[in-house]
């Protein structure tokens, strides 16, 4: 008698879910070590982390605000990864969405909000989408790895924004790189009085719903999944893999672009270089942890939104730098990848000869 390990043909879903929990626990341990090494009191530290994230309704609303762009980038990454297209460029696409929507705002910013705000979201989608689509086109047309092009385009987008903010869109009254403030009327309205939770959260949930239906219910979604699982067979059976790649990158980039709109018009009220602090990259972690499932992304994104706010509170309470949470997020991902390997195996008591 002993524990028998057998390989599974298809991974166990319950194990994959359990992997997330295991990863969170293990990462908690590592965080404790890191906090200890920084000389923080563990009780205070974890308390502050929790308080900042979900302690009370105020903190919770704030967490939802932080989760909004993460939901969008998470879903953006998930759509692409479903097709096995490695879009690492959600960050740059977010910036291009922000730039495009701000540009449209400078043109038609005086329209009544009920018309203007939908237009801003469309502009954000188009901006991010075209930028993602560029990487998709380079992949389809020249077989250039989208991993590297999207990374390169991230850098280009950052510098482009920086150029705009010291050049044409510079706020002459400010020492910082930022645009003049956006009119109150053009900002995203709050959903609930007394909170900062803005319309963008609803848009993010709507995007999740649309992407969920797209992937699981439509012919295009079928093609995206087919291509991600076996591009060769998909091609043999008449799926235009190149065209689908471009479409996927248009959609993925577009959804990431929406996050640019929520941050500029919902949170910051102006265009500035730090409208995203790595949301595009955190989106990758979120998408992978959520097993590329759009619905699950909402919950994981809220958890990660909590990390961000918790991290800020942590720094205030203990002096430990809030960047700790960035490191912890990556550690969660690594632990998750490790634990998820177990989902490929089956364990039972007994001997192999039964």
């Amino acid at each position: 008698m002993g524990i028998v390990v057998e390989k599974r043909l298809t991974p166990s879903t319950s194990w994959q879910v359990a992997s997330i929990i295991l990863a969170l626990l293990a990462s908690g341990l590592v965080s404790a070590l890191l906090l200890k090494s920084a000389g923080a009191d563990l009780g205070t530290a974890f308390g502050a982390l929790w308080d900042g994230a979900f302690g009370g309704w105020r903190a919770s609303w704030k967490t939802l605000v932080k989760a909004t762009p993460l939901i969008l980038t998470g879903v953006a990454v998930a759509v692409a990864f479903r097709a096995r297209i490695w879009n690492i460029g959600a960050e740059g696409q977010l910036f291009m969405g922000a730039i495009m929507s701000y540009w449209v705002y400078t043109l038609v910013g005086t329209l009544p909000p009920i018309i203007l705000i939908p237009i801003l979201f469309i502009a954000g989608f188009v901006g991010g989408g075209l930028y993602g689509g560029l990487a998709g086109w380079l992949k389809a047309r020249f077989q250039v790895s989208e991993i590297l092009t999207t990374v390169m385009l991230n850098y280009v987008a950052t510098y482009f924004l920086s150029f705009l903010l010291i050049g044409p869109w510079r706020n002459p009254d400010s020492f910082f790189q930022q645009s003049p403030p956006i009119d109150r009327a053009a900002r995203l309205p709050n959903l609930i009085g007394g909170t900062k939770l803005h319309l963008g959260f609803l848009v993010a949930i709507l995007a999740v719903a649309v992407i969920y239906v797209l992937i699981s219910r439509t012919s295009l979604g079928y093609e995206i999944r087919a291509m991600g699982m076996n591009a060769k067979a998909a091609r043999f059976k008449g799926i235009n893999v190149e065209r689908t790649a471009v479409i996927v990158m248009l959609i993925s980039g577009g959804v990431a672009g929406l996050a640019g709109v929520t941050e500029v018009f919902g949170v910051q009220g102006k265009l500035k270089p730090d409208i995203s602090v790595g949301f595009g990259f955190t989106g990758i972690i979120i998408a992978v942890l959520a097993l590329l499932n759009p619905i699950a992304i909402i919950f994981v994104a809220i958890l990660f939104g909590g990390f961000v706010n918790g991290g800020i509170k942590l720094q205030v309470a203990t002096g430990v730098p809030s960047t700790l949470t960035d490191a912890i997020q990556a550690i969660i991902l690594l632990f998750f990848l490790t634990a998820a390997v177990l989902a490929r195996y089956k364990f039972r008591l007994g001997t192999k000869d039964e």
Binding site: T10, T218, S219, R225, A226, A233, A234, F236, K237, G238
Partner: protein, 511 residues
Amino acid sequence: MQPLLKVENVTKRFHQVVANDSVSFEVMPGEIHCLLGENGAGKSTIAECIYGFYKPDKGSISVNGEVLDLDSPAEAIRHGIGMVHQHFVLVTSMTVLENIVIGTDAATAILNLQSATDRIKAICARYEVEIDLNSKVWQLTVGQQQWVEILKALFLGARLLIMDEPTAVLTPQESRRLFKIFREMTGDGMSIILISHKLDEVMQSDRVTVLRKGKRVGTVVTRDSSKSELTNLMVGRDVNLNLVRERSDVGLPMLVVSGLHAANDFGTDKLNGVDLTLNRGEIVGIAGVAGNGQKELFETLMGVRRATSGRVMLADQDITNKTPREVQQAGIGHVPDDRFAEGLIPDFDIQSNLVLGVHRDQPFARRGFLKFGQIRSFAKQAMDEFAIQAPSAQTICRTLSGGNAQKVIVAREFAQASRVILANQPSRGLDVGVIEYMHKRLFEKRKEGFAILIASEELDELLALSDRILVLFKGQIVGEFSHGAVDLERVGLLMAGHFDDAPNPNADRSL
């Protein structure tokens, strides 16, 4: 005499499938010992266990009385066991020499391969093999590549050579030559384990161990046995692979290919002007050694590969270089040779795989949305019709056996095609029951007036199925035989590229 190799009660399991169930046999020095069995009987698995590639769950394997600690091929190699896998394990972008010496003591820290050359040349001379050690493996014919594999084993000092289906890629003449060399090897005191399901070559061995469904059903001395006895042991019942061929009315030309040229992924020309015509109600077989353009021909016809010149006409419609979707909509179905890599989305369920290709079309989709009700009911019907054994239509295809996976593909292609069916190696790796079934379905389609093109490495299968047999060599059709007028000897010569009517006197010595 002490046996060279002793296999005792070896059991090997994959997932829930028992590939080998307490298998035992012995190989004597100087013996050609054949492992005979259907596909899936566990022949290759037991061979991989002997070679140390798989670890048996139970049982022992000993050489010269010494039990092997089987964890890696290193142990087997140390005990003089060599293996030539059915799918060659070579680095095609490297030279013959590099492939042979890697991992041997001839590969010194700072490579000086010339010292190994003499040793390899001596082995080649012994068996009268000519091979350029400095050419890249991809430049060689399949027969030569097989020799690289054999040289790899001999160079490591193999005394027991395991050959897994060695003749699958050879012409009949090349096969005969190989067996002559096997005899020279056994004359030198080597032993050979030959894995095969072809009775003709099995009869040239000394003893035969027959496997069925992972179990050993018997070991017989070959000369005291007969083909029919072996067949009975192997299948457990009488088989009639030669179905009654009903006459079929061959109709007008359906698919006409003229002067078709195409290259492989590396830019090497693989089709050099293929001309062929498929008529309605006709099965045409393509004979040829693997790598002579079969794959490229099917891919080019399906629109997956670009034709660099030439024309493909489907009835009156020019379908040259149309997209795969257009070709399929024109009524052509395709059964590719690599089921799980090209025919299926293994991680999709059965019902999704069954609508692959029509997932945008009525009745399975409307206005861009999938109609799951329609998909499910179609899947149920197809699974009944083709006797696909699976728990449900939502079963993931990765978990299916090769036979059931192939049935999913065939069910899909038969449903989608309306005029032509192209099938590359449709029965590769399937057991006799499934093959019989596939042949029956193909004859039905022929009766319905379909034009059918089949490529197979099994000449027997082509003989049974085809109204005409075409021989493909280096991307050209070099011979045509109608059913009943097939001269197998000539087919073999043509497959090897000898076009003279008189048999080439040097044919036996050239690879």
